[in-house]
Structures are given as C-alpha cells and as structure tokens.
C-alpha cells in the first residue's frame, strides 16, 4: 500500500518536472520568435517543448489507437497540439499540451486528496486484533478471529470486533461511529461495537461476531455500496458523456471540411477552429466533479454518523415536505423503566420475573427494560414475536405471553375490565397482571421538529402504536402537529400511504422491526440508532448511527449542499463549454479560451466539489 502511494507522488513530481522544463522552453521560444534570430531556432524550441511535455500523452494516444479508441481524450489532445504546430500556431500548440498536463496533475492531486480524506473518515476498522490464548497475547488478522475469542483492547486503541466486555470498564469515544463527541462509559457485561476508541483503561473482551459482520465493516460496506446507487445527476453525466465527445468531434470534422468548401474561410483557419473543438471535447470536468460531490457528501456525512444508502437519496431528502415519526425509541429515548406493577393472583416480583423471562434475548425496548431486573437463567424453548402486539415464549413447563390487548385476544386470554392498557402478562392462557412502563422524550426532539419546519417541511406526523394520552402528550411536548395513536404496523403503513398519495414527499423516521415496511414505503426511510436492527437498516435509505434526532435536519442540509454543488457544476461546465464552442466556431474564441473551457472549468468544478469533503468531524 505504501509503495503505491510513493509511486503516485513520484509520478506527480515527474509530471511537474516535465511541465516546468517545457514551460521554460516555451518562454524561450516566444522570446526568440520576437527577436532577429532565424525562425528555425524558435520552431525547433517549440517542437522540443512539445515533445517533452507530450511524450507520455502521445504514447498513451498510440495505445488508444491500438485499441481502436479514436475518441480517447489523449489522442484528441495530441491531434489538437500537433495540428496547431503544423498550421503554424506553435505557441498555442505547446500551450494546449502544457495546460492539459497541468490540469491532469491537478486532477490527480485533487482525487488523491479526496481519497485520503475519505479514507481518514472511514478509518474505523483495525486490521488486527490482540487475541489472548493460553495466557499469551498475540496479534492476529481481525478477519481470522473466531466468535467467542478473547481479545484485549488498550487505551487509545480501536475495538476491532463487536464484543462483550468480560473484564474492565472504560470511557469510550464513539465519534467515529456515531458522530457523538461526548465519550460514553462502558462496563463489564456491556456489548461494545467495533470502531469505537477506548480512551482509558484496558478492556478484556469476548467477541460476539466475526470481523466481517461487525459494525465497522458493515458501515464501510454500506458507504462503499452507496456509490453504486447513483443519483439522477450522476446518471445524466454518464449518458451525456457518451454522446458529448462524439458530437463535438464530428462537429470539428464538419467545420474543417465544410468551411473551406463553401469558401467561408481558409483551410488553415478552418482547421484551427476544428482543433479548438477537439480541445473542448472531453467532458472531464463533469465526469470527475459530479460523482465526487456525491461521494464527498456521503463520506463526510458518514463521519457525522449519518449513512446515506446512495446518491439517489439526496434529491428526495432535499425536497421533503412531510416527516412522519415513530414514537417509541425515535422521539422518546426507548429506555423504559417499570413505573408500576399490578399483579393479579401472584406477587409483584413474580410478575416482573415472568415478563422478563418471556422477553429475554429479544431486541424490543421493553425487553431491555426488563433485562435489568430479571434474575432467572431459564431460557425459553421457542419465542415468537408478533409485530406491534407482543411476544409469546414457550418454556418446558409453561407458556408465557407478554404484550397488548390484541395479543391477548389472539390467544383468547380472558382479561379484567379495569385495565390501564399497558403491558399485559399471561401464563398458560391465564391473565396474571400488567406492567406500566414509561420512557422520556429525547431532549433534542422539539428543536429537531422546529428546525425541520424552518427547512421547509410543512407537515409533521407522529404514528404511534401507543395509547392516546401518552401519544398526545409526546406530540405536544415536541411540537408535532398531528398525532395518530393505537396504530398497528399495518395501519402505520396505511397512514403513510395516505400521506404520500396527498402529494407529499414523505420521510419516515423509525427504528425496530415494526417499522421496516413503513421505512421501505416512505420516499426517504430514516432508521435511528445504528446498525443493530437488520430489518430496519435493510429497508431504510438513511441510517443515523447515534440516537440523536438532530442529525435529520443535518442530513437534509448536507443533501441540499451536495445537490447545489452538483447542479452548479453541471450548469457551469455546460454553459462555458457551449459558449466557447459557439465562439470557436465563429472564430471569436482562440485556443487559450478553449484550454480554459477544458482544464480551467475542470479545476473549478473539482475545487467546488471538494467542498463537500470539508471534515464535519465533531470537535472533541
């Protein structure tokens, strides 16, 4: 890897040396041409200058001819510069080649910089892990580490593989993964994701996934694959570039042949105009800068914990008119605590214990609340989750059901009349009590909603499966205009469909398995909370790695910036090229302007695109 990097900079220096040498000769030639020296001397100098600058380009052009690619950029540049020399425009011939080289060197440098900054942003996956085996530590390729291996991570190091902490506690910088600047503390028993940096102390970990399936690898894969889902703009450029070069080259031929035939101008002048066309015939400015804007946006956003699934997400995200939110875990923290336990015929502790046993191992937020209070080691034989209803767990000696009224009805459990409508628990078909859980609204929720309004979103809706009072209370706190409650996943889906058919561009923000259909249906599905929930990640278009809602307005802003840059570049490059083509055909432009239309425009467009890469890393 290092070797190839050195090679690139070596190539760059060689290019620069050649450019400088050729430029000096060019200046010398221009001076001699104006002096009393015989003409042969200056022409000789011009020729040498062109040979020095162009040797590599000529060689590549020859290869292009060999593979019968007569529209090769280098071939066309070679024709333009040699052609200019032949018709006596020596200085311009050399200049075309020189500026082409200079532009290329700049492009290479810009691309290298962009790649390096993307790589730095994406440098979240260590290649090696320190495996502890038979009391000895040994570095191994992270890819070879099996699930259940014991590894250690020291202060300052990045966690290589998703693991459970078996010894030690530490504060951990998760900014590379979530964009959150504030360190989080982890203790024994916690699951720690790969890609985070341990700030103090040493952690002994037991791996729970392979490196390939770990969070860091999955993020990298998402970002890399994002390049394959192209935006409208990128697809336009690909199509456009296929036609642009042939059309310009054919126009050049037409000019060179027909202008002299119809006696409009001399053969030499017609050729000069045609050569100008060849100089402008590369769509390079667009072909490089537009994908670069999108990729820069994707890479930069990733460092803020915002993952776009592709360039095609930017346009709908930039023009959202409605945002629908899930409530639990999205607008609220999703960290439940047991507020009240109302047992029937058993003790309070027993009720909590039964609920916890049934939910053990489930991903649902309620399960997490219960896992902290459970003591039982008993594992269910089977566990079936009914989306939006609850869970049924079968043990060797009993069957437990935990969920809402719909689930109890499904199972034919007889309920009491005076229910608070919370989490109902049944053992072997008999109602044994209910639990009342509550969580709090996220602190940034109301700010997020108001910045969405100021970004032009007109409608905000909350789609909740929860009871009326709770749903309305949350909606009011965060400033959401419309709250729909007691919805099943099917009804959420239906409500979202209605919203879309009302001509709105709708984003749906959610998490968890209940939300997968809605995430897939929305114009933009936004999944909160990292790579934990596979179904949500699969169907979402944007994944927010942290739990912070304020990344949503940020994601919209980034998408607008990227689109603005891409569209400006397209308009600017096309306008300049077209203008100079017209002026060139009318003999008003000259070769210098043509070179600007090619290289100058490319440089400006690339610099503009590189703005998307300005690091958005949080300040720690």
């Amino acid at each position: 890897m290092k070797k190839s990097k050195n090679k690139i900079s070596e190539l760059l220096t060689r290019d620069l040396t050649r450019i400088i040498a050729s430029a000096l000769l060019l200046i010398l030639a221009i001076i001699f041409e104006g002096s009393t020296m015989p003409e042969g001397v200056s022409v000789g100098l011009y020729t040498i200058a062109l040979a020095i600058a162009g040797c590599k380009v000529f060689f590549d052009a020859a290869r292009g001819i060999l593979r019968r690619d007569l529209l090769d950029e280098k071939f066309l540049m070679s024709v333009a510069s040699v052609g200019a020399m032949i018709i006596g425009e020596h200085g311009e011939g050399v200049a075309v080649m020189l500026f082409f080289l200079l532009g290329e060197a700049f492009e290479k440098h810009a691309v290298k910089r962009s790649r390096a900054s993307i790589r730095a942003l994406m440098d979240i996956r260590p290649d090696e892990a320190r495996v502890i085996l038979d009391g000895e530590e040994r570095m191994e390729d992270a890819e070879d580490v099996k699930i259940g291996s014991v590894i250690s991570v020291r202060a300052g190091e990045r966690v290589p593989i998703d693991s459970e902490i078996i010894l030690g506690s530490a504060s951990v910088d998760t900014s590379g993964m979530t964009g959150e600047a504030i360190p989080r503390s982890y203790k024994t028993g916690d699951i720690i994701e790969s890609g985070v940096v341990v700030l103090d102390g040493t952690l002994i970990l037991k791996t729970v996934r392979t490196a390939e399936n770990s969070a860091a690898s999955r993020i990298l894969a998402l970002v890399e694959e994002a390049g394959e889902n192209k935006s409208v703009e990128e697809r336009f450029i690909t199509k456009f570039s296929r036609f642009y070069t042939p059309i310009v080259v054919v126009s050049a031929l037409v000019l060179a042949v027909f202008l002299p035939i119809f006696n409009i101008t001399s053969l030499e002048n017609a050729i000069y105009r045609a050569l100008m066309f060849l100089v402008i015939s590369c769509p390079c400015a667009l072909v490089i800068s537009v994908p670069m804007a999108f990729f820069g946006g994707i890479g930069g956003a990733a460092s803020r914990g915002i993952l776009y699934k592709g360039g095609n997400v930017f346009a709908p995200l930039a023009s959202l008119t409605a945002v629908a939110f899930d409530k639990t875990g999205t607008l609220t923290t999703g960290k439940f605590e047991i507020q009240k336990a109302l047992p029937k015929g058993i003790s309070e502790e027993e009720l909590i214990e039964l609920a916890a046993m049934a939910e053990a191992g489930s991903n649902h937020p309620i399960a997490t609340a219960l896992s902290n209070v459970s003591h039982s080691k008993k594992k269910p034989v089977t566990q079936t989750e009914y989306a939006g209803e609850g869970i049924v767990a079968v043990f060797s000696d009993m069957t437990l059901a935990v969920g809402n009224g719909t689930l109890m009805q499904r199972l034919g459990v007889e309920l009491d009349d005076a229910l608070e409508g919370a989490i109902l628990v049944a053992r072997d078909g008999v109602f044994v009590g209910e639990l009342i859980l509550s969580d709090s609204v996220k602190t940034e929720a109301s700010n997020t909603v108001s910045s969405l309004y100021s970004l032009g979103v007109k409608t905000t809706v909350m789609l909740s499966g929860d009871k009326r009072e709770k749903a309305l209370a949350v909606a009011e706190t965060v400033g959401i205009s419309k709250a729909l409650f007691e919805l099943s996943p099917e009804q959420k889906y239906e409500q979202l469909r209605l919203l879309r058919s009302a001509n709105e561009k709708v984003a749906y923000v959610g998490d968890g398995i209940n939300d997968a259909p809605a995430l897939a249906l929305a114009d933009v599905g936004i999944a909160m909370g990292g790579v934990g929930q596979d179904a949500a990640i699969e169907s979402a278009d944007v994944v927010i790695m942290s739990d912070s809602l304020d990344r949503i307005p940020e994601a919209i802003k980034i998408s607008r910036m990227v689109l603005a840059i891409a569209k400006f570049n397209i308009a600017f490059a096309l306008a300049v090229k077209l203008l100079i083509l017209i002026l060139g055909a009318l003999n008003i432009a000259n070769m210098w302007l043509a070179v600007f239309a090619d290289v100058g425009v490319a440089v400006i467009a690339i610099l503009n695109s590189m703005r998307t890469l300005i690091s958005r890393r949080p300040k720690v």
């Binding site: 290869r63 950029e73 691309v111 390049g227 590369c282 769509p283 072909v287 490089i288 990729f295």
Partner: protein, 71 residues
Amino acid sequence: MKIRYTITGLDCPNCAAKLANMIEGKEGISSAKINFLTEKLTVETELNEREAYGIVESTAKAFSRDIKVEK
C-alpha cells in the same frame, strides 16, 4: 458470483468507465463496475476466481500499463 478487487492507477472516471465496459464485454463476465473514488472494481461472473482474475488483469494491462488490480 460477485468478486471485488482493488484497482489503482486509473487516470480518470472516464477511463474507468471505458475499462469497465471492456471487462464487461469479455466472455463469462456478466457485469463489471468501477468506483473511481474508492478504487473498487466489482465483477459478477460465473468463472472461478483464478479465471476471472486472469481476464480482469490482462484487460486492465492492455488498457494501460499503470493500472494494477489486486484481490
């Protein structure tokens, strides 16, 4: 089968697209995509890894000597 390679030494996205088209035109390769910025080549093929690499590598070398393809 989907195979991913790292491809370095490409001059510009235009050339990348051209090379991808050439590779795609080879027998046994159903699709070839090059991401210029991440320098990744993704090939879909019914060939085995060795055969596929042979074709990719020789096509790239014929395109330009500066290009390097690594697994």
